[in-house]
Each structure stands twice: as C-alpha cells, then as structure tokens.
Symmetry: C2
Subunit: 742 residues, 2 copies
C-alpha cells in the first residue's frame, strides 16, 4: 500500500536518542512495559480491517476518501504559533499549548462530505499508546461523536478541510505524532508515520483550565517568555548581579528538556502533571543518583570542566547534555537554578530564580545553626560544623496544588541543588511558598527544609573545659535576611522576603515558629539575656586587591563602665559559608565609659587576603567577645563581597534583524600578576549563540580585545554579555544592552 500522505515539510527531525537502553524484563510483573520515553514509539498499522477478508481479498474501493496532503500549519508567523505564543521557538515543528485550539489543514482527493465521510485525527505519544492512559487520543471532528479532545471542522472548501483540535488542559506534555485515519467500508486506513506530522504540546499558563494558569500578563511575559535573566548574588547589603541567558527558545533546547525526562525514565503518563514534572526535574537537573544534567563542584578546582562562574547561559549546558548523554561539569547553586529555569519556561511552566541571603544549610531542616565558642568567647572552628551560605538560589514555579487543601497553590519552591546532609534529598519541592510562610510544614514536598533555610536561628554556644555546652546568644534575624528575584519586565530587583515570612517580631511570626515546632522542628528555646553592649559593623564596597578599613563600633547601652575582650577573625570563605583560610586575627580589649560608643578600626591589607582568595572573593568577619563585668557574649558577623574588575562589552552596527553586527570585549589585567588559562564566554538572547575564546596568558597590566561578529535573529530589547574566568580570577562579567529593530 502506498503512502497516502505525501511529505509536506522535508525538514529533518532533531537528533533522536541513539537507540533505547536495555530494559529489565517485566514478565510476570507488569502486563506491558511502562512507556517512559518520549523518543520511543510503537508503529500503528496502516490498515486495520474490520473483518477478515474473503477468499479473494477485499473488493477494490473506488469512492473512498483519500488524503493527499497534511499541513501542520507550523510557520512561526502562522496562526498556530502566534496564538499559542510559541513563535520564538527555533523549530520547524508545530508547537502548541494545551487547553487551546490549534488547526491543521488536510487536503483530500475530493471534497469532504460531513454526512458520509468519516475520518479521525489520532494523536499518539510514547510506546504502547493506550486510550485509557491518555497516550492515544482519537479526535473525531464530527459533532455527534464524543472524543476526549474536542475536534471541529473549522473550514471546508474544495478539497481542503481545516480541523480545529483542542487538547485537554491536563493532557500529557511532550512530542506527539499525529495520524490521519479514514474509515472505509472494510477497515481503517491511516497515514504512514512521518516526522513532519510530529507536534509538541506544552503547558499553558494562558488557559484557565491548566494547572499552571497564571492570571497576570506581565508575570507570564517574564516567567515564560523572557529569555534574559538576572540572578542575584553577593551580600544582602551589597547585592551583585549575574546576567544569564535562559535560552529556552534556542534550537534543540526543547528536545533536550524532553530528553531529560526520558533519561529519568519518567512514565509518559505522569508528564501532564506539573507537580510530578517539577519534582522529577528537581532530581534530574543535578547528576546525583540519576546521571542528571549537572555535576556539582564547590572545591575551587574546575580543571576537568567549566567553572560554575564561567557559564553565560543554559543553552550550552543543555545541548552538551543532550548530545553527550553525560552529566556536564560544573555547577553551583545558581547554575542549577538557571538551567532548571530554562527547563520550566521551555515546557511552559511559569518560573523564576530567587536568591535567599544567608541561607541556613546542613542543619537537616532543623531551626538552628550552631556556632561554638570557647570559654573566652573565641570561635572554636574545630567544633563548628553547620554552615550558613552567603546566598542560595532556588526556583519558584507557579501552579495549583490539587493534592493539598485549598490555599496552597501559587508559587512553589523547587530546588535542584543537591543537599548533601539532608536524608538523601537530591530533589526538593515543589513546596508551597504559602505553606512555608504560614509554617504548614506537613504538606509535601520538603516545606520543612525550605522553612529552615529562611527561618533558622543562629545559636552561639559556650563550651566549658570539661565539654559542657551552654547557649549564650541566639540571633533570630541573621538567616533568611532577604529574598530577591528579578522584577517582571524590568532589570530591577524585587524583594519578596515578605512572601516567605512575616516581619520579624510580629505576633504572626511568633505563631508560625510555634507551629513549626509543633511539626517537630527543633529550636533553641533558651533565651540567654541580651548583652548590654552592641557591636555594629559598617557596610562596605571594596574592590578586590585593595586595602581597606573595617571600623567596628562598640556601643555601651548600660550606665556602667564596660570592658570587652574581643576577637576579630577575618576569613576567606566560599559562598557556602565554609571557611577556606583565616587570614587575620586580632584580640583588642575595648573599654567603654557608661553609654559610650567606641570605634575600633582594623586595617585589612590586601596582601594578607589576596593569596587565600577563592572564586567568589568573599571575606567573612566574625567578631565575638566577652564583657568582662557581666560575662555576657557579644557577636557580630559580616560578609564582604569584594568587587572584581569588569569586562567591557560594546556592540557596533545597524541594530537590525539579519544585519551583521560586531561585539567587542575588552579587558585589562589590573593585577601585579599574570592571568593564565583564561576563558571568555559571550552570548546574547536572540542575537548571539554561546561562544568562547581561550587566552593562555594575560600578563600583568596588558590588555586584550576580542571582536566577534553576530547576526540578530529577533527584534526587541536584549543584551550581549560576557564572562572572564581563569583559576586566579573568577566571576568577571560585563554586558551591554541593545535594541534590535525589525
């Protein structure tokens, strides 16, 4: 039998996974293997006879309806992609969103007669398609016939019929194949399988019936359609920005996202549920357990991969993963969050990256982080185990939560950064932000863990000679100091701390913490008396490599004389709060008259800290001390994020789609030492794919200039940005904004 449907669009399919991996036999365990790959499929017969043919076969059919052509109407400027807001995907395939009608055009060998002719469009996904599993969906465009997805004849003229199909708003998300099946007297004839009739169906935040419906157009534009991201880091009082190209519309990214689910062997039938998709992805974005996308590395040694600070966007990572089928090296929290964000936006789940300053970790979801002091009030490093990250990035995604009682839908925390100390938790979320705010930690998934990240207390213990421990100070405001995300449609930041917690000191806050304890979270309950001496630290912005002054204020709030024996410890720390080296230790004795404030100034010399610096150039000062008269303990902590030099990025040309332009990156080594093994990476959403250049040596004082031509693909405001990375200097960035005319 010849192919009844000629090829309409000859564009080849993107690289499909090279053959399925061998599976364990399931004989006796399951009737049919569970379909868990979107790249596998089962051939559907071209002819299904209703009865066995007679001895001489079927009589010839002369009057039956035959299919001449099928047009998926997949042009970027066509009605489908425009209405479904999928026009930016760099793909020749039809891409639509569920719960919303799309159209395909069929051309028959003769005019279609709705009264007599019967045909169906059959949508099929994965192996062993099955009606009751939602993996085989026949759509009948007649009014009389019920079909799971609504179908209708939108237009019927000459031999052409345009059919409107509305996939259910909770249908499986992924790549389908469409067959056209015509009923004849003797059986069903269908089109042969051909990738041109493949189509992608995505989540639809614009459809009220979809679980990811988000009724706010600026938010949707930001959290689904925007490729250009800003991820915050640094310190809460000296916020730094990282540019990121999520690249969710770039060629191959959508296929890479589907491959991630295939690689996890996630059953096809679960792929319409945003709760299951996001939970699975939180496990798959990190490589722990499951050979997922990104290998974590916090060691400072990135010899066998790309330094986390060097990436400029998600595209390179996802395409490398999909083609190599091996985890990509290396990531830290913002890389996990950024790639996860691409995955979510690409599939149509509204999402954003958030940054929590002073994030409590490694305390296994309990509400205290312990710092141990010796009897003199000096920090005892060998016994202080918990860490507070200077900042931590995770994702929020937007969805209803039908699995929870009413009121916990909306933004949900998901986190793909593997949490080492939590009970094998290499996945996290979705956890309702509302549940976190209200201390309703009994609801899945992992709300208690996120609650602790923003609400832990820092407890200072004094350890006696004989090993006895005494809590001496509880700091309730340090952790979860600020939660930031990028504002929709702007390049400014938005403080969303109040979505995670009630203001410090309010009765609501107290109620929530008590509720959390009711759910088994352990807090330090003793409240050692507050010291009557305060320690105030300044806010500082310091360029890397410079000496600076740290001026501490000792404030005596009592009516008596006070003497403090203080320890000022200066440390180089990783952004995870882990100390790399202590480069400075002073132990001044400060004497204050009643109600007096005394300033103690410490000069921090660059030659002391420079040789110890680790990648993100963070200094951590911990000042502890004991008031001689009262034995009270005073403490203060501060992170100083040193400012790196900037890259200069400029563009020249006519700023018009398809016109060649030039980007110029310039950098001068300002240090007294040479920089070796330098990578510069550059990209720009809609204008430039990721590209990089290698410099083996940049001598001290010398400059480099890199000119790169590019051709804008899309009109609109965008940016071109670059990073410079080498073992001796990381996290150097630069960017330029530009607007492309159509």
């Amino acid at each position: 039998m010849s192919d009844p449907a000629p090829v309409v669009d000859p564009s080849p399919a993107p690289a499909a996974p090279s053959g399925p991996r061998p599976k364990v036999t399931n004989r006796g365990r399951t009737a049919v293997a569970v379909a868990s790959s979107n790249s596998e499929s089962t051939e559907v017969p071209e002819f299904e006879p209703f009865v066995a043919p007679g001895p001489r076969g079927f009589p010839p059919l002369t009057d039956y309806l035959d299919i001449v052509a099928v047009d998926m109407m997949s042009q970027s400027d066509g009605v489908n992609k425009q209405q479904h807001r999928t026009m930016f995907y760099n793909s020749n395939y039809l891409i639509v969103r569920r719960g919303q009608e799309f159209h395909v055009k069929l051309t028959f060998n003769r005019p279609y007669n709705p009264k007599e002719d019967k045909f169906a469009l059959e949508f099929v996904i994965g192996a062993n398609p099955d009606y009751s599993k939602g993996t085989y969906i026949p759509v009948f465009p007649n009014k009389e016939r019920q079909s799971r997805w609504a179908g209708r004849i939108a237009d019927n003229s000459n031999n052409d019929v345009t059919v409107g199909i509305t996939p259910l708003a909770n249908c499986i998300v992924g790549k389908y194949h469409m067959y056209v099946a015509v009923m004849t007297r003797f059986g069903i004839r269908r089109t042969r399988k051909d990738p041109v009739r493949d189509l992608y169906i995505l989540f639809n935040p614009w459809s009220p019936a979809d679980d990811v419906f988000l009724d706010d157009e600026p938010e949707r534009q930001e959290c689904v359609m925007n490729e250009m991201g800003i991820i915050y880091h640094g310190a809460y009082d000296d916020v730094a920005e990282r540019q990121w190209n999520y690249g969710q519309f770039n060629y191959g990214v959508l296929d890479a996202c589907l491959y991630i689910m295939d690689r996890s062997e996630m059953p096809i039938t679960n792929r319409g549920d945003p709760i299951k998709v996001t939970r699975k992805a939180s496990a798959m974005i990190n490589s722990r357990d499951d050979d997922g996308v990104l290998v974590g590395n916090w060691s400072g040694d990135y010899t066998y991969g790309v330094a986390p600070t060097s990436w400029t966007g998600s595209t390179e990572i996802l395409l490398t993963y999909a083609s190599s089928r091996m985890p990509v090296s290396y990531a830290q929290c913002w890389v996990y969050a950024a790639v996860f964000n691409t995955f979510l936006r690409c599939l149509g789940i509204p999402s954003r990256v958030v940054t929590n300053y002073y994030s409590a970790h490694d305390n296994d979801g309990n509400l205290k982080t312990d710092i141990i002091l010796d009897e003199n009030g000096k920090i005892d490093r060998s016994r202080t185990r918990d860490s507070i990250w200077n900042y931590h990035c995770w994702n929020e995604c937007y969805m209803t939560r039908p699995d929870l009682p009413f009121g916990f839908g909306g933004w949900q925390v998901v986190d793909a950064t593997p949490q080492e100390t939590s009970d094998g938790m290499y996945r996290c979320g979705p956890a309702s932000v509302q549940a976190i705010k209200h201390g309703e930690m009994c609801y899945p998934f992992d709300a208690a863990f996120v609650f602790a990240e923003v609400n832990s207390d820092v407890v200072f213990y004094s350890r006696g000679k004989d090993g006895a421990m005494q809590p001496v100070r509880v700091n309730q405001t340090h952790v979860g100091r600020m939660v930031l995300t990028k504002a929709p449609g702007a390049t400014t930041r938005r403080d969303i701390t109040s979505q995670y917690k009630f203001p410090e000191g309010t009765s609501e806050e107290r109620t929530v913490l008590e509720k959390a304890e009711g759910f088994g979270c352990h807090r330090e309950k003793s409240r050692p008396p507050e010291a009557d001496v305060d320690l105030v630290l300044p806010t500082l912005e310091v360029p890397v490599g410079q000496d600076f002054e740290l001026s501490l204020e000792f404030v005596n709030r009592s009516d008596q004389r006070r003497v403090v024996e203080a320890y000022i410890s200066g440390n180089v720390v990783f952004y995870t709060g882990v100390t790399s080296a202590e480069f400075m230790l002073r132990d001044p004795t400060v004497t204050m008259k009643p109600n007096e404030t005394v300033k103690e100034t410490v000069v921090v010399e660059s030659k002391k800290y420079m040789k110890h610096l680790v990648e993100q150039a963070n200094l951590h000062f911990i000042i502890t001390g004991k008031v001689k008269e009262t034995g009270q303990i005073v403490t203060a902590m501060k992170v100083v994020a040193l400012h790196n030099p900037k890259l200069s990025v400029k563009v020249s040309g006519v700023n018009r789609v398809s016109e060649e332009m030039m980007a110029t990156v310039e950098f001068t080594n300002p240090f007294s030492f040479a920089l070796a093994d330098v990578y510069i990476r550059m990209e720009g959403p809609g204008v430039m794919m990721p590209t990089y250049k290698y410099y083996s040596l940049i001598p001290n004082g010398s400059s480099l200039t890199w000119n790169e031509t590019f051709v804008p693909q899309r009109a609109g405001a965008t940016r071109v940005f670059a990073t410079l990375d080498c073992p001796a200097l990381r996290q150097v960035q630069g960017e330029v904004s530009l607007t492309i005319k159509p």
Copy 2:
C-alpha cells in the same frame, strides 16, 4: 601512657565493613564531612590538657582517680538486658533501649569521693562526634552538672561505682562507644577505645517519651519480640499461610540492620527519627537505585538466585547481604515485607506484615483500573494494561507523627516493594493508616498511592470498531477486598480491613472518596446502569493437578427472558495479576426465563492448565458477557489458588534447651513427572538456624526423607518449618509446632 582500663570482656567485635568507600571531596561545600556510617569513628584523645605543660612537663600526679575496670553489665540474664527486653539478642554486647535507665559498673583504684572526684561517661557515635549534633554525649553523674542524658550514682561501695545512665528518648539509634573520662588537675584522662565498651541503643516502644511508644503489651510482644511470623497469601476466600522466621535476634542480624543504614549513607544524626529511618529503609530493602538488600524478580526464572517462594526467613538474606555487600537474589512482595519487618523489629520499631487482597497496581495512584472489552463483551488483552495483584504484602509500623497534624499517629504503611510505574517511587511511606482511611491524602508520605491500592474501582470499557471507548461497568468492591495480619500472641489471622476503609456503601465511604477526588485522584464518574442479570461464581479449593468443575450461576432478576452471550476465559496468572497464558476459552449462550437462575458448568481439565502453571499456581477466571436484549455488560472475576502438596515436618527428642533433637522432613512426589533441581530449606526460631539440602532429582512417585539434628537455644513455644522449591513446583511448605522446656 598505659591503658587505664583493662579489658573486661575479650569477645571480638563482629566483622566490621572492610574500610570506608572513597567519598567525594567536599572542600568548599561543607565544613566537615557528614557522618553517615555507624562503623566509622574518630579517635578521641586519651589526654586533653587544660593548659600547655610547663618546660618540664606536668608534675607527677599521685592522688588522682584511676580506672581499673569497666563492666558494661551486658549478660543476657543481667539486669540491663532483662529490663530493656534485649535478652534474646544473640550478642555479647550491651544492648539497651533509649529513654530508660541502664547501668555500668566502674572499678577505681581507690574509693570514689563524690565531693572532690570528677568523672564523666562519654558516649560517641560515628565520625566527627559533635555535641550539638547529638553524636557526642558526655554524662556527668553529679547532681549539680547538667547533662543531656541523665546520669546518677546508683551505688558506691569500696572502689566500685555503679552509674545509672538514661539516654534521651529521642537519641540516635545505633552502636555507640563509651569512654570513661576522669578530670585531673592538668587535664582530662580517658579510657582507650576498646570494642568491649561498645553498646547498642535501640528504639523503645515501652517508653512513653519515645516516638514509637506503643501502649499495649500483647501488641509489643507480637510486633517487637516475636520472631515467628505468618504471612497470608492465596485468595481472599481461600487464604493460605506462609511461615516466616523474622530472626531479628539472631547473631549478626542487628549489625546487618545497621549496615543497611550505613550502606545508604544515611546521616547518623537522622537515625533517631523513626519517620526518617523507616522511609530510608523502605528504599534500601529493595535494590533499585541504591544497591539495597533484595533484587526483585517476577519472571519465573530464578536460575541465578533463590526463588522468592523458597526462603524460610530473613536471617540468611540479611547475613548474606552484610557479608557479600551485594544485593541478594530474589524477592517478591512478601520477601520485601518480611525482611523489612525484621529490620524494624530488630531496631525496636513495632511492626507487622499485612496482606491486601486484590491490590490495585500500575495505575499510578489513580482510583481506576481499566479492563477493555471488545464490542461483543470479550476481554481485549492487547489493550488491557493495568493489573490487580491477587494480593500484595506491605508493612505497618507504629509511631507518632509529629510532622503531621494531631490524629495521624499510630500505624503507618511502609512498603519496600519497588513500584515500577509510580514516578520513580522505589520507596513508599510512612503513610498514616488513619489518613488513608479518612482520605487525607495530602499528608506525606505516599498516602495517595496506598489509598489507590485499597480503593480503586475496576472500570470495564467497551471499545468500538473505530476506537471510541465507553465505560460499561464499574466494580467498586473488587479491589482491597480484605486486609489481613497475624493476630498478636496467636497463630490466627485478624481482619483489619476496617482500619483502611469504611464499610462499602456507607455515607462515610462516599465522603472519603469525594475527598480523595478533591486531592486530584481521578475516578470514573459515570455509572452505567447495572445489568439485571447477575453472575455468581463459586468458592473453590482445588489441589494442584486435579480436574475440577467451575459452576457459574446466571441469575435473571428481570421479569423478562434474557439471553447472555458469555465468554469464559481461564488463565494462568502470576500473583501480580499478569496473565501468563490463556488455557481455556468457552463462549456459551445462556438463556434464562424471567427470574430464573441457570447453572452453567465448565469442566477444567488439569492437563490443560498444568503445562502453563507458574510459580504460585493461580488460575484466574474472567467471565464477561453481553445481554442480548439490553446490550448490558455482565462481568465476574475469580482467582483460584491451587493447593500444592504439603511437606511433612516432624521433630523428635526431649524438647529441652541445649538437648540435641532431630527434625525429619518427608516428601513424596505425587505427580506423573520427575522434579529436578530441588532445594529444601528449613529453620526454626530459637531452635534451628537456616539450613538447606539439594536433591538433583525426585522421580515421580518416589519419596525423600531428610533428618537434621538441632539444639534448641531458648525455651518457649516455637515452630520448625520447611519449604521445597524447584522450577517445576514452587511454594511447597510444611511445619511443626513444639514447645521447648527450660
């Protein structure tokens, strides 16, 4: 410095894991590696000076308290093990339960003076012990000193001091080391590390402050102390029993259970929380993901391991796993549940194995299981994908749930059988049985999945020629027909169905199902009209290899004549409901007068089914049909579990502890074919360790006799039981009860 504590008990430690596996470096990620092995430890210094020694060292100490001997008081008949109910553990070590005082005796070089002498007992678990993590606990036996675990001088006479220590009721469960530390003027002197001062601390269902407190002595005796289990299988109307020796007190089993947690790299700090311990263990008892204890196999081919039906107890499995460090082959659901039960009882968490008859699986937690019929009412096997297991075993364990709102403590479902189709769910629970009964499926962990196992509807669809599907029958009572467990202190069964659901048809049941739908579970809502013809199947008990009659009653409840075109399909099925072969198909047409009952008898010949039989010898009859006059669909389903021949087990001798006795196993091959590759396994709690014998061939009609001597270790009622297993015949059992006198 010489060892201040002479060795008191020279018994060697059980084999410790042969060196830790290499770990990923955590530099920059965590301050200190997370302790996740109970077999690793950090050496604690023998002397900790308070100040640096002077130029000539410390002056000699003459009057200080020195430790001559430490007695852990670990005899089985001693006060510690008797009071802590750990006397049955076959171990020389001290084993106690938390939240309850135990005693150790110290002998000093001179009388102890409470006013002047200071000493502490230090308990340490895992590497990097840390006070604030609860892995380093100093206990001061003075009243004035606070210590986390209460300590007191219970007796002080001559040079001997007996110290009473009460571990916190929520302390970490596992193997600790105890040091004795004496304060001298210049520093702390402590005992050298020696395994004789190791001790195990377990969960304590007898302590009201422990999360696993169970206030019912018969239940505690059954669910913690009983080694002898009965696990139900077969069919709900023809229940069969499997004997099982949990063996939680056998030599090496406790160490194997701790090794399981070490192997999972579960942080030591989480090991006091029964929620985390049981959830982790539900993942580790199966080998999926994590190289856990047991490899699942439902294929019928067990060439490279032991057939699941062949095991007689958990001891052999756990000791093999702990010594080989490789997953053990093979398991099906009751093996997972039985070994999990051993783990739980061994650690002191009350637990029991339950059996659910007609357990819905592979429907991903949804509330319907689909069976597809063709237009004539005949089952369409190629399109019927879901399976209903004839039975499924899981565990219940008893604990409070501080992580949930009040009211969901008590029995919790945990399930170690890997669920293939659920989203990567190779762990399940703990899920509150109360929450399942009341449809509160929003509470962790996996309540929705268990709810579906007992509450799914069976939906029959009729599939039209053109692929359209129509629900024609909904059976709401088939799934979760009965839930059984062994009664405490008896060998009878206990029906606990009412703990999982309200009676069918009550308003409570309806409310619960509606609530479940509110949490996003999908049900079939259409209610096709009930047919006015009923189909009634008989209850049958059939020995394997015999012909039998299946007599069906067609009951016409209408006042009109009815003709049913019926399909009677006889199938050999695995216990998972998966069909291996259809051995019989009849399609009688049955005519009934108004209100008449017509009997249709079908002879089932053994020669038809014998050649297809799979291990558990289950036949599944599905009768479907269409009423000619009304088009209504009638259905009935029935599992017939064929009865295997029994093994004869007898014992002879004097039934007294330490007196040699003899067990005799006899078997006659009743079949017309020879049995090849036969293993017989035998064991008996407290009297006989697992043992087996191999017979290469048992010709048809011939008999075997195996005599095995054994020496009872313990007084009390017990059983000796055996299984016979070969590829052609599985699940043959026999047992004998006996009472051993002291």
